[in-house]
């Protein structure tokens, strides 16, 4: 379903984006007396975005017509649940890092992400726990001590 209308949806979204971008440029102020100011280029680009998005929408409708004629159903259906869950994990990782610290959040994140990606047959929890702990300690050590990246230490620091 989504596959079929993907070009039309993305085209409409981009058209709206282009229009929004164009409208935003009206608040830009001229700071120099030159002929074109900070608003010129964004306006050109947003106009181009609108034009090209119309092309994409038109092509999308053409393709839709063609697909309807050939009556081929796409059976492949990707699982979006793990994608959304992965994203939630990453966002949680980001939010909790300042308070819990790099080591703890990384270990937790690694474990859950590995658990999520693994097949049922390869999901060996003790192995995953060990790998999560070892790799976050190694990464922390390398970046903290060798490259002097000041990673958040959180409550452990």
């Amino acid at each position: 379903m989504l596959q079929r209308y993907s070009d039309i949806y993305s085209g409409i979204f981009l058209l709206l984006l282009g229009i929004g971008m164009y409208l935003t440029t009206f608040s830009f102020k001229e700071l120099t007396s030159s002929k074109i100011g900070p608003a010129f280029m964004p306006q050109i680009i947003s106009i181009f975005i609108c034009i090209v998005s119309v092309f994409i929408i038109v092509n999308g409708f053409k393709r839709l017509k063609f697909l309807n004629e050939s009556k081929e159903e796409q059976v492949e259906k990707p699982a979006y649940f793990p994608v959304v869950l992965s994203l939630v994990l990453m966002i949680g990782y980001l939010i909790l890092m300042p308070s819990l610290g790099f080591l703890m959040t990384t270990t937790l994140y690694l474990f859950f992400q590995m658990y999520l990606l693994a097949n049922k047959s390869t999901r060996k929890i003790p192995v995953l726990i060990i790998i999560s702990i070892v790799s976050s300690v190694v990464i922390y050590y390398i970046f903290h001590s060798l490259f002097y990246v000041m990673l958040p230490s959180g409550i452990l620091g």
Binding site: P42, P78, F147
Partner: protein
Amino acid sequence: MLEMLIAGFTAVLTFKIILLIVLGVILGLIFGSIPGLTATMAIAICLPITYGMEPAAGMSLLMGLYIGGVSGGLIPAILLKLPGTPSSIATTFDGYPMAQKGLAGKAFSYAILASFFGGLLSIIVLILISPPLGNLAVQFGPFEYFAIVIFSLTLIASLSGDSISKGIMAGLLGIGFAMVGSAPIDAFPRFTFGFSSLDAGFNLLPVLIGLFAISEILLTAEQKMKTKLKADYSNSGYRLTIKELAGQGWNFLRSSLIGLGIGILPGIGGGTSNLVAYAAAKNQSKNPEKFGTGIPDGVVASESSNNAAIGGALVPLVSLGIPGDTVTAMLLGGLVLHGLQPGPMLIQTHGDIVYGIFAALLIANVFMLAFLYLGMRGFIKLLSIPQHILLPIIITLCVVGAYGVNNRLFDVGALLFFGVIGYLMMKFNFPLTPLVLGFILGPLLETNLRRGLMLSQGDFTPFLTEPIAAAFLLLTFFSLFFKFWKNRKNRKDLNVTDHNNVTS
């Protein structure tokens, strides 16, 4: 020039830099050999590490990664029929059948030697032609530069992916994202929506890592991990006779030249060169029917052309500051991170670093040859590391890398944001490379346009009347027109065949 090259070698021949090149080649080979990890990703992850190094050291590491990353793809291509990188697609055509016949060792030898000599030839050409090209380009003013940027942007946008409009859209979006933050020349903050964190714009690193690494992981999360990859590896020995090698001479030369030429043209590069060289080898062969059944010619054609594309892609980067493909866009990012202004002035102002890069490439090429021969067994073992363990660790490395840019979590947020954008773009069939190039070249475009208009007091005509600028704009127009015309023709052909398939 020779003394410059010798100076380049002396700058690079320190224990620390050699070690970095070795590290780069090994990491590159690892990333190249594991399907799903690419040279682009390897460079994206290592860019933050080079941040604290001096430019010559950092760029040497990146060159090692580049050579290793392109070369590593041949291992899974031959053993598993899975191209480790897009550069090795054609290697699977004959490499895998050779391995099936028990000739894996021979296939490796052919592929490794072809990679080495293809790379060597292209690096030599790079060293010979980019300095004079750079000298020529030094005379370019804002008008010429604006036209060249337009030309390379449209070429890249129209060559990546099947749909021109989507490629151009991706390029436009990249330019748009680059506009967030202070405007060039007068520094007016644009599209920041009141967030002061956005005043400096998006940093290049989170954009690159997010688009190419995070998005890839979200994409794999979709289809759950496949069962473990298994490599059957019965070795017949690596030895090749002189006669066998000499028989590949012409094929090797033709394929390398194809790779080199395609590499120099902005927008195509390794992913295409191996397929074109394979097709050319097949067309010119006395027995084209044997291609695909496991003959060395196919392996040599593919592997010499993809490594030859390395030197080719670096020509416009070094002499004009224009990246030819995604990896060189990353390298351009590396130059910018080290405060080196890419462009025709690079060779003039930082000749030492440019020649250091050349030297590092030559050294990395030799290490690539050595490590592939010596470490083949190890790389084959790597293929069995499960991806559900590898990918989360890579995400963590990305997060650390993005955090390290400015030591703030905002950049990690940007990383995730661009990861989602990259994922959505892939789902909706938009190519990612034009976005990166738009992001890098957009500010250049605007700066040169505004600078040019200041020079001409607001007059647009010099962009069309200055001969070099006009020539590039004309080229832009013709390349777009040609692509449109070709696409239309293709679509007609496709519709006809599709229709036949449905009715039959």
